[in-house]
Amino acid sequence: MAATEMTTSGELVENAAGRLVPARINERESVPYCGVGAHLPRGNKVGPPIRRASDYPASGDKRVGSLREALERCGLRDGMTIGTHHHFRNGDLVANAVFEQAAALGCEDLRWFPSASFPCHEPQIAHLESGVIHHIEGSMNGPLGDYCSRGKMRGMGVLRSHGGRWQAIGDGEVHVDVAVIAAPAADCFGNATGDRGPSACGLLGFALADSLYADHVIVVTDHLVPFPCLPWQIQGNNVDFVVEVEKVGEPDKIVSGTTRVTSSPDRLLIAEHCASFVRDTGILREGFSFQAGAGGTALAFGIFLKEMMKEAGVTAGFVRGGSNEYLVSMLEEGLTPVILDGQTFDLEGVRSMRENPGHQNTSPFTSYNFHGKGNFASMVDVVILGATEVDVDFNANVVTHTDGRLLHGIGGWQNCLFAGCTILAVPSFRNRIPVVLDEVTTLCGPGELIDVIATERGLCINPLRTDLVEAARGSSVPILDIRELKREIDGLCGGAPDRARTAERVVAAIQWVDGTTIDCVRAVGE
């Protein structure tokens, strides 16, 4: 009999990972995590309502005068769900504008369903306070995560991976009433692209699901082009209204803190360890593939790997982006024929997507969605990701800090764990806080999917991966036992850290890639 607990957040039930998770999330029943690949939903996906072309202008001109008018004509009302997207990362201007207009229209209790939020979205806190927004379902970075962590949000936050967001929409777990898509270029019919225009940001893959499944779709652009907008990443046939505004986003802010190469000697050492490991274990071979996420260490990994590929005379079969100038240089120097890009991390990525035929834009559907007929993530030979914490069983946390505060989103992190070899590149401690623990504060990724923990002190290989343990024999990289590493770090830091004291209240649920609940985050005190 699994354990349960009654709290102010309702009943909590124990899931297959031994974590207590809410049985209901925002009035909706939730399935507790049952193990990797163990949840087997049946039935059909959902679909958008039937529309008639006769209800739309035969001229194809769907422009309306303002964002407010578009929202009004979508029938925006209390309790609805609005989807927005983070192609501009910390330079997004549209999400804030949408909720300003929603507030002006007197709407309340809205659910904001962003593909991710950033520090630039701090103004949304005012709408959470005033009641315009009821709660956020989406990765919360920085100030919004902090707000949620303190238990100030009325509803429960729900964090999903990029693939999990598609899955939740497709499976009908989240119904998007109105999707607002910030488009760097669009025509009056609603065809839109992200790779050109004065605010070019690359691709619009995160908005694709919303464009297919939402009741209403608004395209907001600052660069209206004559019909047809080519190429089109979003099809106008899915779009209700087109709104022209002065500016949709600030592309120079796409490069936020997590997309710069590290200058820290320790982190460079971690990146180098990872690259050497990939080389020494033979993962680096003709036609191999890799993905390195955002984050300075992962970017540095790419730079080291590129040198090793040149030394070994090896070219990749494909690489997965987040694209950046380093991946683009690999493409343009012939070290890979293709970048399968999910997100552009800098303006070189944007340029390359526009100019290089081998720079292919993708979406969470092709790359990450778990409830599809396969996805690209599992086809990647090796992926380098970060984490806030890992534990001696290789479980990992990517959303909360050891003090219990929710400060990061999941991104594509969970989806990428299905790669052939998953390496988490982490410092062994940060400002006295050990990163290797007995048990992670919040479980985001199960240890059975995590193959290597790479630190500046050396690498720990998951004993389940006997093949990797074998392949790493004779490697120049120090290979450590994870429990011994933990002992060393605890010694340095003055003992194992105390566990953060948290309140009873559940402030956010963490969903696994299949829509089940793998863990939850409790409120922290002031």
């Binding site: 320790d266 050492l269 003090d403 400002n431 806080i433 340095l492 566990r499 922290v524």
Partner: protein
């Protein structure tokens, strides 16, 4: 820990130690106000309150007892300082607050810190670590420099000399530098002798003496070391002036403890009154002088630092030039310079191959009882054999050659 403080004679005043502010990481600020009654009142704010708040309070209470402080207000503003750092900051604040305090609060000396000094060792790289900035110390050994230098001189502002000295002492007792030679650059003159009083017996392997202009200065350090420790502690004088260069021979031969001599080119070029250039023509004579003086005294000649961290190509060029002049090592101001320096000082594959051939020829000649070694049509002189043996030993130490290369026939 016993209560050994004698503060009755000293002056009491409010004092502080460590950096302060919201941006401080891996370090802490401690303010200490001696009181006449009321016990020890502790006030702690920390970025790691939820995980180590308890531990910080317990450590501070232990420190107050160890330092014999009965009544004081102690305020800690912590940004994630490791215990050896917190201990150093508290002791420094206490010593500033209680003039004449004799008690010390020594962290346990870790096993990894007990490796004795060795005269003969490679000194290709020495990585400078600012003595008052703990965050660079903890992981310095991971970058595998031949030596780490805990610097008390130029990287420490005058007002922090005492706190840095205590921090460096604690680092010498606690930080695992992973086999790197454990060295300290002391201050010049009498302040340097005070540095030695605190550190001589803390398992420091080598002391760098800055701005040396005479053998006398080296002998003064030697004498002080003899008073303070029975352990082997070696010396590396740094010559940084025209006067020092003129006395290089006497400095290199000043005493038995000297194992290497190095040159500080920033100060030297300033003294001569010329800008320091990348090609270094202005210091060629001085550097050659150092090499010659060192070799004459039978010690190592070590080059200055290369200050553009981003320019690895320039660094490599500079090190290859230093090697060609006869230097055996150089300073590093960033961990990423270490590998470049090692690779440049290591023998090249061609040098290793040639050395192996000579060593093999030498072995063969010895086996056959021949006094003359020859390789092909060339006769090999004994000094060339000596150098070849050294090159082969270096190659083995750097992993460029298997230790059993002669047996394996590889």
């Amino acid at each position: 820990m016993s209560d050994t403080a004698t503060t009755e004679t000293g002056e009491r005043r409010a004092a502080e130690a460590g950096p302060r502010g919201e941006r401080v990481r891996s370090d802490c600020w401690i303010g200490l106000t001696p009181e006449l009654s009321g016990g020890v009142v502790l006030e702690v704010s920390s970025t790691v309150e939820s995980t180590y708040g308890r531990s910080i309070r317990a450590l501070c209470e232990q420190g107050a007892r160890a330092l014999g402080i009965e009544h004081a207000r102690i305020r800690v503003e912590d940004g994630g300082a490791l215990p050896f750092v917190l201990m150093a900051r508290l002791e420094a604040a206490a010593r500033r607050a209680l003039g004449g305090l004799e008690a010390r609060w020594l962290p346990e000396c870790a096993q990894a810190c007990r490796e004795p000094a060795r005269r003969e060792r490679r000194r290709r790289s020495r990585l400078y670590l600012p003595g008052d900035q703990p965050k660079y110390m903890t992981n310095a050994g991971l970058h595998v420099p031949d030596a780490v230098i805990l610097d008390l001189e130029d990287s420490v502002p005058p007002g922090a000399k005492d706190t840095a000295r205590i921090l460096v002492r604690n680092a010498l007792r606690q930080v695992d530098f992973r086999g790197a030679e454990r060295t300290v650059r002391i201050n010049p003159g009498s302040l340097g002798l005070t540095d030695i009083d605190e550190l001589a017996d803390e398992n420091v392997h080598l002391i760098l003496i800055p701005k040396v202009e005479s053998a006398e200065e080296v002998r003064a350090v030697d004498a002080r070391l003899r008073e303070r420790t029975e352990s082997a502690v070696y010396l590396m004088p740094i010559i940084e002036s025209s006067r020092g260069v003129m006395c290089a021979s006497e400095i290199a031969a000043a005493c038995e403890r000297v194992v290497a001599v190095t040159i500080g080119l920033e100060d030297y070029t300033a003294d001569v009154g010329v800008p320091r250039t990348e090609e270094g023509r202005e210091s060629l004579w001085a550097r050659s002088m150092i090499v010659n003086a060192a070799r004459a005294a039978g010690v190592q000649a070590i080059d200055s630092v290369f200050s553009d961290v981003a320019d690895t190509v320039g660094l490599r060029r500079s090190v290859l030039e230093a090697k060609a002049l006869g230097f055996e090592g150089a300073g590093c101001i960033h961990p990423r310079q270490v590998r470049v320096v090692h690779e440049a000082f290591d023998p090249t594959p061609e040098e290793v191959l040639r050395a192996r051939q000579i060593v093999c020829a030498f072995r063969e000649a010895s086996e056959h009882g021949l006094a003359v070694v020859s390789l092909g049509s060339k006769m090999i002189d004994p000094p060339v054999v000596e150098r070849a043996l050294k090159t082969v030993a270096q190659a083995v130490e750097s992993g460029l050659l298997a230790a059993d290369w002669e047996e394996s026939g590889d």
